[in-house]
Amino acid sequence: MVNYELFKKLLVLVITITGLLLAIPNIFSEEPVVQISIARSNDKLEDKLQKQVTNILNEANFSFRQKYKNNRLLIYFHDTEEQIRGADIIKAYLGSQYTVVPNLVSSIPDWLQNIGFHAMRLGLDLRGGVHFLLQVDMNTALKKLEDSYEEDIKIRLRKDQIHYINKQLISDYISEHSYGAMQIAFDNKNEKDKAYDLISKNFGQLEIKEYGDLELIVLLGKRLVDEKKKAFLQHNITILRNRVNEIGVSEPIIQREGEDRIIVQLPGIQDINRAKEILGATATLEFRMVEEDIKNNFSKTYKDQHGNSIILKNSSIVTGNSIVDATSGIDQHSNKPAVFISLDDLGAKKIEEITKNNIGKYMAVLFSETKTEKIILNGISQRNVSHIEEIISIAIIRDQLGKDFQITGLRSLREAHDLALLLRAGSLATPVEILEERTVGPTAGRVNILQGVRVSIISIIVVAIFMVARYKKFGLISVFALIINIILLISVLSMLQATLTLPGIAGIILTIGMAVDSNVLIYERIREELKIGVNPNKAIVIGFNRAFNTILDANITTLIAALALFTLGTGPIKGFAVTLSIGIGTSMFTSITLSRMLVDILINVLYSNKKMLKISI
């Protein structure tokens, strides 16, 4: 019996101390830094680079510290304003061979981080940054897919010499299948059956329906659609992640939400417009030969940057997908902005072949971009998708080209930089729409944290005054337990890496109010028992025991409400649900177990030798 009691006490002590330790990392604040590294490579920075950077910063009278870690030079500034100014100066000095990125870095010592001690994650409203909820436009992409199947089917039917008429789609089908379907009519039943067999053999993923005696309707099969939707979403997530890496934000969040939505959170980001530009770009490049046979009906006309019309062949030699790496810079010969491209093996082979056989002919670089515009027509908002295609450069093939080459014809270094970025990161599979966007400035974030901390402290003080006034020494115990409760709450949040938001702080305040409730239940019960004349020792025991059931019931019902709340919304309110739920858990621990232990200690200290006839509560 004694051993069990001791064991329990030790366990409580261990849990409490571990909890306190885990909460410590949160004392460390975040510091504004500028990270300098060689663009897109992890090579070591030259020693003289560090000296150069410190020199120009000293000349401009900045006060800073520096650290060299993981092949990156980190410059720590005093505040975000100096950070931004410093970043601009360094960027202007170093040029585009280096990546210069402002960031917020936690000041927790490395050895602590290595053993797994982390601070709580702060939500955007406490930290600054931008949050997007994006919707992937599946319809456009699926329509494109349907169109390409249509082309392939027509080619196939023609090859097998089956005559068909492509008809206008009947209205029922249009509404049911928003990404389109193909309706084909045949001369006789025989032809129709032949076509049916042909299509089902070669295009198994499509769904074919018979319509009347002589017609077939071909649609994208359900399984194909589901598969493609998943693929589009995953592709877009990957692309966005690549692009976010280019922006250089620490701890970005990119994840899927439901069937066709993506959440992107960029904490600490300063230049939001730039972020949107990078995230949303849909441009790509194609290499095509200039058409020499003017009678070729399949070739299309494009305009170049000077407004001249040029006809290009329809098929592209190499597209953006084959581009393995792309960097921007100044071309040595022409002193103009250029993009330096590396192709993969397949693309390199194709380029080699074409250029070998076409020396003296012209090859063009076609730049295309998809723009989505929303216009209001007759009060209904519609999406207008437009494609911009422009020839940005034409050159004579002087000799065989290989894996690496460059293209010029970009208007500015900035344009070259953006295009190179896009080519590296890949292009979005489908258009993407912003459903929700929140931005919080970094200073606002800090103001919110300070306010949150202030409210919590005032709240604890107010509650403490009341509890001590009413329950005297026992009130003091409950206040102590309350403080440990909050610290444990923080450490659980840190351990789970859950996110704290401003409503989350409101949840902590609510926890303060309700945690005290458990203690109140116990003390009121003790009072009652004392009133009927039960001796103090027994009264305490009864108080704790009887109250346990009530506390359990009461807390679980609040937990049910908190869990229902958990399903709502993305972000701040979830933060509230999380802190409330965890708070209920920790307050059950501190109010029952910890308080009990402290009360026992108190009794032993106060009444160790005397007989306890009465206690003030």
């Binding site: 909820l133 994006l134 939001i272 417009n273 949107k276 530009e277 995230l279 949303g280 723009k371 989505t372 515009e373 929303k374 209001i376 729409e433 459903l435 929700e436 966007e437 929140r438 931005t439 400035g441 200073t443 606002a444 919110n448 306010q451 409210v455 005032i458 709240s459 107010v462 509650v463 009341f466 509890m467 401003l502 409503p503 409101a506 305040i509 609510l510 303060i512 109010g513 309700m514 005290v516 409730d517 109140v520 239940l521 009652e528 009530t550 019931d553 009461a554 807390n555 019902t557 609040t558 049910i560 409400a561 908190a562 229902a564 709340l565 399903t567 709502l568 919304g569 309110i573 409330l580």
Partner: protein, 304 residues
């Protein structure tokens, strides 16, 4: 028992009063509706912090001159902070929904230009209207799920008549609180909804404490002991605890209201209203309903 109050004597009056105020509130809700916040309607909200005091009219004039006449402008905390709200139908918002901003100017830049002051810092929140409608739906669902979960739990831990009582008390709390929100024109956004769910949790918490005492007292007496007397005794016994806890929680919510800032303001007010209403419902409504349904010792301690 000193200070014994016969609560149950007033139960008919209490039920009638609650019933009438419920109807009254529902009529008000029907006509006035809610001041729905941006979370549920969609739209754009911009918080601008100036380095000096600025008047609402000054900002509004600038916006109207730039064809943004349906913008709502108000102070936001201090006289240096302005909140600008654009409803979801503004044409300027159509551009906001497009990720690629090369061709379209970004709303932040536009507003900064309009406000003509390089020293101000702004933050924006943009919500497309579909999200707003979705959140409203999800919110109502969350409330139903919470009530249903509570009903099942109370039914399992106690018995069904008390569960019905608890649920009716909760619904009463929601209706009255929602009514107060509507009457005082408190903005109904996501934090307000969170507060309503917190009120549900808190009120049931309160109710369960009373129910627990009722159950315990039933255990001590024989089957024919007057129900009303037991309930009265139970309520009296838990009264000091109920008042103390309500008071403490109320204190922390008042602190939140005074010092918490704009964002959690309506959360704090809703909680304050909810705690007061919830305490009342825990004392009167839950047990009265159970009595009305014919609660007796058998229900809690079935003899085999």
């Amino acid at each position: 028992m000193r200070n014994y109050h016969d609560f149950m004597k007033w139960r008919r009056l209490a039920i009638n009063y609650s019933f009438i105020s419920g109807i009254f509130v529902m009529i008000i809700l029907y006509f006035q509706g809610f001041n729905l916040g941006m979370d549920f309607t969609g739209g754009l909200a911009i918080e601008a912090h100036y380095n000096r005091n600025v008047s609402v009219n000054e900002v509004r004039d600038l916006l109207v001159k730039n064809k943004l006449s349906n913008a709502q402008v108000q102070h936001f905390g201090t006289s240096q902070d302005i909140l600008i709200k654009l409803p979801p139908k503004s044409s300027i918002l159509q551009e906001q929904a497009i990720l690629n901003t090369k061709l379209n100017t970004n709303i932040n830049e536009k507003i900064l230009e309009i406000l003509k002051n390089p020293d101000i810092t702004i933050q924006t929140s943009f919500l497309g209207p579909q999200i707003g409608a979705e959140l409203l739906e999800q919110g109502s669902l969350a409330i139903f799920v919470a009530i249903f979960g509570i009903f099942i739990y109370v039914m399992l831990r106690f018995e069904w008549k008390l569960a019905v009582g608890a649920v009716i008390a909760t619904i009463h709390d929601i209706i009255i609180t929602a009514g107060m929100i509507s009457i005082f024109n408190i903005e109904f956004n996501l934090t307000t909804l969170a507060a309503i769910l917190a009120v549900i949790g808190y009120s049931v918490n309160d109710t369960v404490v009373v129910l627990d005492r009722i159950r315990e007292n039933f255990h001590k007496v024989d089957n024919n002991y007057a129900i009303l007397k037991i309930i009265n005794i139970s309520i009296n016994e838990t009264l000091s605890r109920t008042i103390t806890t309500s008071f403490v929680t109320l204190l922390s919510m008042i602190v939140l209201f005074l010092f918490g800032g704009q964002v959690v303001n309506n959360f704090a007010i809703t909680m304050i209203i909810g705690i007061i209403v919830g305490t009342y419902s825990s004392i009167y409504i839950a047990s009265s309903v159970a009595v009305y349904l014919g609660l007796c010792k058998e229900n809690l301690y079935p003899t085999n």
